[in-house]
């Protein structure tokens, strides 16, 4: 990142680096200030945030049959 104001690309890269971290360095404060004013970076932030949320919410459930096969495979009983 340059010593001056961060560019949109700097901000987007920073989002991918630090999403979910609580950071309070001068660089992070500048990034947050940019983010509040820049619509493109806000949208980019939302899309990265949503990417994570999509995968977080995508769960699969172990079926009873698969559970029984596992217990049998391990030679255990209930």
């Amino acid at each position: 990142m340059s010593e001056n104001k961060p560019t949109c690309k700097d901000v987007m890269s920073h989002i991918c680096d630090n999403l979910g971290e609580e950071l309070s360095s001068p660089k992070c404060i500048e990034i947050k200030a940019h983010l509040e004013k820049c619509e493109s970076c806000k949208k980019y932030f939302n899309s990265v945030d949503n990417t994570i949320l999509f995968y977080k919410k995508y769960d699969v459930t172990l079926s009873n049959e698969a559970h029984k096969r596992l217990i049998e495979f391990l030679g255990l009983s209930e």
């Binding site: 690309k9 999509f54 977080k56 391990l74 009983s77 209930e78």
Partner: protein
């Protein structure tokens, strides 16, 4: 019963305690395996192999790390081994710094994460996107962002330094975002 007590009983050959440990973690292990393999039969096979390893090695488990951390590591290694035998990933697109941060295609998305449970097409889009991600990046992304482990725990499981773990996470997030953006943004 407390996990630690169950582990100690299992280490002394108590099969009931072993069964309880399996039941305690089977959903987590299956879910994580599925998220890495993206295939139900493979996820089930990985889950079975992971618990078989736990049953065989429970006596050597020292308790220095959490049992969940140890299970995550076994799943990760198993999936990496499978991925290496296939050897089909193209690292070019994820290691190209210039293309990774796509500042030209910025738009709102037409669907929100809340729709995931009711939308099979969306699940296919998510499966296709993450399958393009090399397995070692997929594991870091899933552990840190999806399972919610700390960067330190993730680094320990994948046996990478913290900067290397962060770098993979950065690239995985940007890559997946770009892949989903191609399908989900408004025209």
């Amino acid at each position: 019963m407390e996990e630690q007590t169950l582990i100690e009983q299992a280490q002394h050959g108590d099969k009931k305690a072993l069964t309880e440990l399996v039941k305690m973690y089977e959903q987590t292990v299956y879910n994580f395996s599925y998220k890495i393999c993206r295939h139900k039969d493979r996820a089930e096979n990985t889950m079975q192999e992971t618990f078989l390893s736990m049953v065989k090695n429970i006596k050597q488990f020292s308790g220095e790390s959490k049992l969940s951390t140890w299970l995550y590591r076994v799943v990760s290694n198993h999936c990496l081994m499978l991925a290496r035998t296939e050897g089909k990933f193209n690292y070019e697109s994820i290691e190209n710094d210039e293309a990774l941060i796509d500042e030209k295609n910025i738009a709102d998305w037409k669907i929100t994460p809340e729709k995931i449970t009711e939308n099979n097409e969306l699940r296919t889009i998510l499966d296709d996107a993450i399958q393009k991600l090399p397995a070692d990046y997929r594991i870091v992304f899933t552990l840190r962002d999806v399972e919610g482990l700390s960067t330190e725990e993730t680094a320990k499981i994948v046996e990478l330094t913290i900067p290397a773990t962060k770098s993979r996470l950065h690239r995985a997030r940007a890559f997946l975002r770009n892949e989903l953006n191609k399908k989900l943004h408004y025209e």
